[in-house]
């Protein structure tokens, strides 16, 4: 039976289990003289039996599905004849693909070595057997579970508590998925990074000044041996983020101050949502805007002043990224400025300070921790921003701080290294995960500090 059909069958069995459980509890109720003599409502008895029927079998099914493929390919590999046994991972993948296509009929059997045909037949047989095994096991578990649940029923059974316990367990599981995700991210980047650092020393990666990840794919190929010094990438990322911050922080902060302190409610109700539009525009649109509109504009302007600007300048990418971050900073700053107690404003104004003096000398110092937290969050967004730099910044890893030249960033390199076909044992591919690890650690650090600062600040005025 196919997996989808099997799941439907299990659902039907659970529904039946619910029905029988419900009926049996009604039977108890009749004997005892009414539902109120039962411990729980009849629906809970039904649900309990349904859970006994469905839960173990579905769990079994999922565990099986997760490991089915790897077990089948292990079995297949051990059964292969010696003359076609693969020697490397690449050969293994090729062979598996071939056998797969033979088994599914996508590849015609003509002129194929008999050993391969045997393997394809073995694969089909293994698949078939595992399908049958799964069906039998799942249905059997469901049946036994359902019967057990039904058998153990009595009028005193604490069915509601048991069902609620399962429900709460499910909720806890869902909440814990966040931890699982973090763990998954960490594991995925750390494992591949460790493999990378076995090939390239960590000191070279962190302090090397040259980045050219082109490694020879075949042993006899003439070509770069690859150098993995990531300093130019870090510098490029910092440069573009710095430009973005130089646009976003003044513009975002000043507009937040104006909106919070000066603007009337009419202006506010128009300007705020309009600026928020900028936050909702997808980054790929900003990238397109930067590459096709802003970069040529900067190039032409530079030419007017006699400057040579590359068409993939850091300035274009940084500028547009700054525009993207304006609403982020302005809405965070708006929140913290509004959280400053009115009494502080009143006190300052009563002493004779002008409005702008109050803002500069009372409100901003009071709101500073919150603003700093917001800016840190914005920096972490700028560092991790991908599409704008992929489309508007270049690939050349220049070690420069000149905003008119091409620089590349960590995210650009991750994308370039991982788009398309990859081989997971070359330093070139693995270096993307090392870059990912750096990115994750830096942004995690920034977020952690920023969130703590903001939280502390909030508590101060609550």
């Amino acid at each position: 039976m196919q997996t989808s059909n099997l799941i439907i069958a299990l659902l039907v069995m659970s529904a039946l289990a619910y029905y029988f459980g419900y009926q049996r509890s009604q039977g108890f109720a009749r004997q005892l003289g009414g539902v109120r003599n039962l411990h729980s409502l009849p629906t809970y008895y039904g649900m309990r039996v349904a859970l006994w029927c469905g839960l173990p079998s579905v769990l079994l099914l999922f565990i099986g599905l997760a490991f089915e493929e790897s077990i089948i390919s292990k079995l297949l590999l051990s059964g292969l004849r010696a003359d076609i046994r693969p020697n490397s991972i690449a050969e293994y993948n090729l062979l598996m693909n071939k056998i797969e296509n033979l088994a599914s009929g996508a590849l015609s059997a003509e002129g194929v070595r008999p050993a391969l045909l045997d393997a394809a037949a073995a694969l089909a047989y293994l698949r078939d057997t595992s399908q049958r095994l799964f069906t039998a096991m799942a249905v059997l578990t469901a049946g036994i579970g359902g019967l057990w649940g039904w058998w153990k029923m009595s009028a005193q059974l604490r069915a509601r508590q048991q069902v609620e316990k399962v429900f709460k367990g499910f909720l806890l599981l869902c909440a814990s998925l966040a931890i699982l995700t973090t763990l998954g991210i960490l594991l995925s980047v750390i494992f591949e990074s460790l493999r990378f650092f076995q090939q390239v020393p960590i000191s070279e990666f962190l302090f090397g000044l040259e980045w050219s990840p082109q490694t020879a794919i075949r042993a006899d190929q003439v070509g770069g041996s690859g150098s993995f010094g990531a300093v130019p990438l870090f510098l490029g990322t910092l440069l573009i983020s710095l430009i973005a911050m130089m646009v976003a922080v003044p513009a975002g902060l000043m507009s937040a101050i104006y909106l919070a302190e000066y603007a009337g409610s009419k202006v506010r109700s128009f300007v705020k949502p309009t600026l928020e539009i900028l936050a909702g525009v997808p980054t790929v649109v900003y990238g397109y805007f930067a590459a096709l509109t802003v970069a040529p504009l900067i190039r032409a302007t530079g030419a007017d002043f006699g400057l040579s600007v590359t068409s993939e300048s850091a300035l274009a990418a940084g500028l547009v990224m700054g525009i993207m971050i304006i609403p982020f900073i302005s809405s965070l700053a708006d929140d913290v400025i509004n959280a400053v107690p009115q009494t502080m404003r009143d006190g300052s104004l009563a002493l004779g300070a002008t409005h702008s003096e109050t803002i500069k000398q009372v409100i901003i110092p009071a709101a500073l921790p919150g603003i700093v937290g917001g800016v840190l969050l914005a920096v972490s967004r700028a560092i991790g921003e991908t599409m704008i730099v992929v489309m508007a910044a270049g690939l050349a890893a220049n070690l420069t701080v000149n905003p008119l030249e091409t620089v590349t960033t960590v995210t650009v390199q991750i994308v370039t290294l991982l788009v398309g076909d990859q081989e997971f044992d070359s330093a070139k591919t693995l270096s993307a995960f090392a870059l990912g690890l750096m990115l994750f650690l830096v942004t995690l650090g920034l977020n952690f500090i920023a969130l703590r600062v903001v939280k502390k600040y909030r508590e101060q005025y609550e």
């Binding site: 991908t386 599409m387 942004t443």
Partner: protein, 428 residues
């Protein structure tokens, strides 16, 4: 005494004037910052709409086609194989030659044939398959023009002169004669919304990408909404105050701020390499986007649950309901509008996301409109990314038009969220 007090007054006046000037300057900076922001919004939209509005109409050329059985090489109209192999390109060429009789030499002929898109022959094939009686007859047909012709024709009325980079003088003459006789015109480009990607800009559409986006978003919604709501309910209603709960909270807040590309790495290393989920299909895209939007949904759902007043819970407990019953029967229905709003905003975020999808192979060149969750697909933002990289000039227009469609979707979703909040949200 009096003179010194006068001095002080004067000094104060002077400094007051200075302070007022500073005040005005400060206000001006604020106004400037806001104007800059508004200017950016306006520029972005004007730029994109200005570049993209043309793509919704496409140039068509009128041809008189004679379905000549000899040229087609079809002797028996009921023979399917003959029909499939027919020389439809020959028909198109012949009708072009009969329209412009002044063509001589191979080069001019080749230029003539590139007036119309190569999709014209497939159109003819479809015509004859649906109505076989056309064989041997003539009919007038509007066929798609080539993308270079389209670009030229659309730029004819531009103030700085037409774009002639990709058309020859001879072709421009032909187009002029077509204009004079009314044989060329712009029509609504319905293909743009129906077809998948293509190497030929005039045939390329966002139909495939939209369907791919819908499939992907469906998977994202199905996974992230129940899990997000369940997690929020647990954290707000049942979680004991202990280290594990604190740890979960810190994790959720941090995940909300992790760069999206990291989720792409997660998808590549865990889902594809470890669990062998196939690449380039809506399932893997939906999974990665679900993991990415989960924190957003959890955070907004928690806010929605928090806004349900405790008196409701106390009343429920008071008449003998269990905590689980109180949550399921009372708290959840009351918090649902807020949760839905948060989910729609999360979905809008997922719809606009590109970077993680690049990692998991959703950047393939896919011509067919996907028919299911396991068909190779691309999504709208990735299609925009792919087109933005294409060298053909006609793709600039297409890219901007695709952006307009994407923005329209996003604005609709966000408006829906706002309306939903206004309509359904209760103030206690």
């Amino acid at each position: 005494m009096s003179s010194s007090s006068k001095d002080t007054t004067q000094q104060i006046r002077k400094s007051l004037a200075k302070r007022y000037r500073a005040e005005k300057r400060f206000r001006l900076y604020g106004v400037l910052a806001i104007l800059f922001g508004l200017l950016c919004v306006a520029t972005l939209f004007v730029d994109i709409i200005g570049k993209g509005h043309g793509a919704f109409r496409q140039t068509y050329i009128e041809l008189t086609v004679n379905y000549d059985a000899d040229i087609l090489g079809v002797s028996d109209i009921n023979d399917k194989q003959q029909l499939a192999l027919g020389n439809y390109a020959g028909l198109v060429k012949k009708s072009l030659r009969s329209k412009f009789t002044d063509v001589s030499g191979r080069r001019e002929k080749r230029e003539l044939y590139t007036l119309v898109s190569n999709s014209a022959e497939y159109e003819l094939a479809d015509r004859i398959k649906t109505s076989p009686s056309l064989l041997g007859q003539s009919e007038k047909l509007w066929v798609l023009a080539d993308d270079d012709i389209d670009t030229y024709f659309k730029s004819l009325n531009r103030s700085d002169g037409p774009f002639i980079g990709r058309t020859s003088e001879k072709q421009q003459q032909w187009i002029q004669s077509l204009i004079d006789e009314g044989g060329i015109k712009l029509r609504f480009n319905s293909n743009f919304f129906k077809t998948g990607d293509s190497r030929e800009p005039e045939q390329a559409g966002i139909g495939g990408a939209i369907v791919g986006s819908l499939f992907t978003l469906f998977i994202t919604l199905v996974i992230s909404f129940p899990i997000g709501v369940a997690a929020a309910v647990y954290l707000e209603e049942f979680a004991p105050k202990n280290r594990w709960t604190d740890f979960i909270e810190v994790n959720i807040n941090n995940l909300a701020a992790v760069p999206s590309i990291i989720f792409g790495l997660l998808g590549l290393a865990i889902f594809i390499n470890f669990f062998h989920v196939p690449r380039s299909v809506p399932i893997i895209g939906g999974l990665v986007l679900a993991v990415m939007t989960l924190p957003t949904i959890i955070i907004s759902s928690r806010a929605a649950i928090k806004s349900v007043p405790p008196s409701i819970r106390e009343a429920g407990i008071g008449i003998g309901a269990s905590p689980v019953q109180v949550v399921l029967h009372h708290v959840l229905p009351l918090a649902l509008p807020g949760m839905l709003t948060g989910t729609i905003i999360g979905m809008a975020q997922a719809l606009g996301e590109t970077a993680p999808l690049l990692m998991i192979g959703m950047v393939a060149f896919i011509v067919d409109v996907p028919g299911g969750f396991t068909d190779p697909a691309t999504v709208l933002p990735v299609q925009i990314f792919l087109w933005a990289d294409s060298p053909e000039r006609a793709f600039v227009e297409k890219t901007s038009a695709a952006i307009m469609v994407l923005l329209a979707f996003l604005i609709t979703m966000n408006t829906l969220a706002v309306v939903l909040r206004k309509r359904l949200e209760r103030r206690w």
